[in-house]
Symmetry: C2
Subunit: 460 residues, 2 copies
C-alpha cells in the first residue's frame, strides 16, 4: 500500500462548472470494446457516476446500459435522481435489478422500487428474497414522506442484561443482517421496546464483562413510523441525533433513521420552501419544458387574478390619472417598494417558522418588531420618494402624496409579511406555499389605492 | 430501571405553537428557593433549555443567572443562538465559563469564545487548560466559515500495523482526549497523513488479532483546513460522509468534521440563500427593530433605484397614457406577470446552482428549456391577457397590444431568470444575493417598454 492516499480533489465540483471537462462516461462510450468500457467506468464513485449519467441524453444512457449493464449497480441506482431512475429502470431486466438491490439497505431499496411501474415492480419483487421483499412491501404501505417509508429496517438491538462480550460476539455472527453502518446499539426490553442506547464508540471502550445496562444512555428519542419526515428532521437537528430507533404503535422497534438520510430530507424540505416562495411547485434539472410549464403556470394564474384586482383599483381612479399623468409614472414605485418590503418580512417569517424559532411565545414580540421596522423603513423611503417626486415633477403637493402613500404601504407590507404566514400556519396551511401571493396582493392593492386615493383627495 | 423509556413527546414542538404553554423557566423563576429553581430546571434538555432562554427577556435571563449560575452549562452555551450567547456571557465569571467549556469538544468551545469581547476572551483563555487553550487559539486563526474554525481537534487515529486489539486497548486508555462521539478511526502513515479509515461498527465486529490494514477502507475524503464550510457540506452531502479527517497543508491530520455539524452548516447556508433571494442580509428572531431595518434597507434602496428606472420608461410614454388611460390600468399586469415568471426561473436556477445540478454540462440544455417554457407560458397568458383586455375595454387593438407585450416580457423574463444567475456565478458573485434585483429590473423595464411602446406604435 502506498503512503499517498487515494484522495479525491475536493475542488473538483466547482471546477467542473468553470472548465467544463468532457463527461468521462460519454468519452468512454467511444471505446470499441465493451469490456474496456466496463473497466474504465467501474472505478467511478457512484455519486460521481450518477452526476455524469444525469447529464447524458437518453440515447447515450441506452447505449451505455446495452453495452455494459453491469455498471448499473444498486449503489448507483440509489444515487440517481428519481426521474433518471424512472428512465433507466425500464432498460434493465427484473432479475438484474433484484440482484443489484440486494447489496443495499432497505431504505434505498424502497426508494428505487417506488419509481417502477406496476408491472416491473411485481417482477422485481418476485425476484427478491422473501424477507427482503416483505420489508419493502411493508415500507410501501406507508405514505410518501413518512418515516415508515424512509427508514431502514436493519438495526442492531440487544437486551440490557447482555454484556459487551455477548454483544460483540452476536454482531460478529450476524454479518449480513446488520446495517452497513451503525452508530448506536439500541437496548430493548422483553417486549422489544427500545429503552436506551449505547454508542458504538462507547461500547468499544468498555470491558467485555460490563453489562449494557451499565453503559446505557437513557435519554432516548424514538420516532413513530407514521411521523412526517419534516418532524423527524427537526428532531435530529435540534437534539443533534446521529441515529434514532423507529417504533410501531406498540412502541416496539421496527427500524432506524440515520443522520445521513436526514441530510437529504432537510435539503428536500429547504428546496420545497424556497421554490414554494417563488411559486414553483416542483423542479428538477432534468425537467422538460412541458414539466416546467406545469410546475409554474398555476401560481402565475393566481398572480394574474391578483394583478387584475390591483388594476381594478387603478381603474377606479382613472379620472385622476387622466388629469395628472405623473400619477401613472410614480404609482409603480410605491407598489414595488411595498411588495419588496413585504416579501422581506414574509421570507424572514417563513424561515423562522420552518426553524420553529417563531412560536406563539415569540410571535407578539416579532409582530411588534416588524411593525416598528416597517414604520422606520417607510419613513426613510417616504422621504426619498417625496424628494424624487419633487425633483422630477416640481410639485410639492404631489411629493406630499407620495410621502403619505409610501408610509401607508410600508406599514401594511410589514404587517402582511408577518401576519399572513402566521395566520396560514395557524390555519394549518404551509406558509411557504401560499403567503407570497397574499402579501403581494395586499401591497399592490394598498399601494395603488393609497397613492391614487390620496392623490385624488388632495390634488383634484 | 423501568420498562417504559423516558421518551419525549415528538409532537411537542408543533403543539407549542398551537397551545402556548407557559415557559417553564419563567414559571420556575416564581419559586422562592434558588436550590429548588436549580433542581427544577436541571432536568431540561439543553436544546429545550436554550429555546426557552431565547424567548425570555434580558431581565429574566439576568435573574436566572444571578440565582442559579450553575444552570449555564457548556452544553447549554453550545446550543444557544450566537446573539443570545453574546448577551449571556458578560453575566458569567471567566473561571465559571472556562469550567463550563471543558466538557465540550473543541469546535463548540471555539464557537462560544468567538462571541466574547476581547477582554473577556483573554480572561477565559487564561483560565483554560494550556492544551485546550492552544487548540482554541489555533482555530481562531482561521477565517469564519472555514473548516479550520469549525472542526473539532479531537479524533481517533492509529497506524495501519496496529491490530484491532491494540486499537481497542489504546482507546480504553485514552479516555478524556477522545472525542465525545466518533464513527471512524482514521488510519495514518508515519507522517501522520490519513490514508484510510475503519468504521467503528466494522472494527467492533472484527477479530482482536486482525490488523487495521486488513479492515481499512481506502476511499477516503480528506478536507483541507482552509476549505469553505459550504464546500465541505457539499462533500458530506454528495458522498454521504459521516465524518472526515481535516488535514493541514502537508496533508497531516489535525482534526475532524462530523455530519451533525454539517447539518448546522447546511441549514445556515440554506437560510442565507432564501433570505438573500428576498433581499435580506441577515435575520434572527431575537433581532431588534433597528437590526431589522439595517438588514433590509440596503436592498430596498437598490430596488428604489430600479423602480425609478422603470418609471422613466413610463414617463417616456406619458403622452400615450394621457390619450388612453387604459394603458395605465393594464401595464402593471404585464410587468407583474413578467416579474413573477422571472423570479420563478431565477429561483429554480439559484437552487440548482446551490445543489450543483446546474453545471456547464447542463447549462445549455437548461437555457433552452427555460426559453421554450417562457414562450409557452407567455403564449398562454398572452391569450388570457388579451381576452381580459378585450372584455374590459372592448378594444381589439388594445387586446392585441397586450398580447404582444405579454409574450415579449415572458420571453425576456425566462431568459433573464436563467442567464443572470449563471452569469453572476461565472463572474464569481453569489447568484442568490444579487440576481433578484437584476431580474425584476429587466421584467419591469421590458414589461412597461413593450406594452407602452407597442401601444404607442399601434394605437396612436
Amino acid at each position: 500500500m502506498s503512503d499517498t492516499p487515494d484522495r479525491l480533489d475536493l475542488k473538483e465540483p466547482y471546477e467542473r462548472l468553470e472548465e467544463d471537462p468532457p463527461n468521462p462516461i460519454v468519452t468512454a462510450l467511444g471505446l470499441s470494446s465493451d469490456d474496456e468500457l466496463h473497466i474504465r467506468l467501474d472505478a467511478l464513485h457512484p455519486a460521481d457516476f450518477s452526476d455524469y449519467l444525469e447529464e447524458m441524453t437518453d440515447a447515450q444512457r441506452e447505449e451505455l446500459i446495452a453495452r455494459a449493464p453491469g455498471l448499473i449497480t444498486g449503489e448507483l441506482l440509489a444515487e440517481l435522481e428519481d426521474d433518471v431512475v424512472e428512465d433507466v429502470l425500464p432498460l434493465l431486466e427484473p432479475g438484474a435489478i433484484a440482484d443489484a438491490l440486494t447489496e443495499l439497505d432497505s431504505d434505498d431499496v424502497t426508494q428505487i422500487i417506488e419509481e417502477m411501474d406496476e408491472a416491473q415492480r411485481e417482477d422485481v419483487l418476485e425476484a427478491m428474497e422473501p424477507l427482503e421483499r416483505a420489508g419493502v412491501e411493508a415500507s410501501l404501505k406507508f405514505d410518501d414522506e413518512t418515516i415508515g417509508r424512509l427508514m431502514q429496517r436493519e438495526f442492531v438491538s440487544a437486551p440490557e442484561f447482555w454484556t459487551v462480550g455477548n454483544t460483540i460476539d452476536h454482531m460478529r455472527d450476524a454479518g449480513e443482517e446488520l446495517p452497513e453502518l451503525f452508530f448506536n446499539i439500541y437496548i430493548v426490553n422483553p417486549r422489544l421496546q427500545p429503552v436506551g442506547y449505547v454508542p458504538v464508540s462507547k461500547l468499544m471502550r468498555a470491558r467485555r464483562d460490563a453489562t449494557l445496562a451499565s453503559l446505557m444512555e437513557e435519554k432516548l428519542f424514538t420516532i413513530a413510523q407514521d411521523l412526517d419526515q419534516e418532524e423527524a428532521a427537526y428532531l435530529f437537528e435540534k437534539y443533534h441525533l446521529i441515529s434514532a430507533p423507529v417504533v410501531d404503535m406498540q412502541g416496539r422497534i421496527v427500524g432506524m433513521m440515520t443522520v445521513d438520510d436526514i441530510l437529504d430530507i432537510i435539503q428536500d424540505e429547504n428546496k420545497e420552501d424556497i421554490l414554494a416562495l417563488a411559486g414553483v411547485s416542483e423542479a428538477g434539472i432534468t425537467d422538460t419544458a412541458y414539466e416546467t410549464v406545469r410546475s409554474r403556470a398555476p401560481w402565475l394564474l393566481v398572480n394574474l387574478v391578483t394583478a387584475i384586482l390591483a388594476s381594478f383599483v387603478i381603474a377606479r381612479f382613472d379620472y385622476a390619472i387622466e388629469q395628472i399623468v405623473a400619477l401613472a409614472v410614480l404609482m409603480p414605485i410605491v407598489a414595488s417598494m411595498g411588495g419588496n418590503a413585504g416579501t422581506q418580512a414574509l421570507t424572514v417569517a417563513v424561515r423562522a417558522l420552518a426553524e420553529r424559532d417563531l412560536t406563539r411565545g415569540t410571535a407578539l414580540r416579532t409582530i411588534r418588531r416588524e411593525a416598528i421596522a416597517a414604520v422606520i423603513i417607510g419613513l426613510m423611503f417616504a422621504v426619498a420618494m417625496a424628494g424624487i417626486s419633487f425633483v422630477w415633477f416640481r410639485d410639492i403637493e404631489l411629493a406630499g402624496v407620495a410621502f403619505i402613500a409610501m408610509i401607508i404601504n410600508h406599514f401594511f407590507a410589514g404587517l402582511a409579511g408577518i401576519l399572513i404566514p402566521l395566520g396560514l400556519k395557524r390555519a394549518g396551511a404551509d406558509p411557504a406555499v401560499s403567503s407570497s401571493v397574499f402579501v403581494t396582493t395586499v401591497t399592490d392593492v394598498v399601494g395603488f389605492a393609497a397613492f391614487l386615493g390620496v392623490a385624488a383627495y388632495v390634488l383634484l
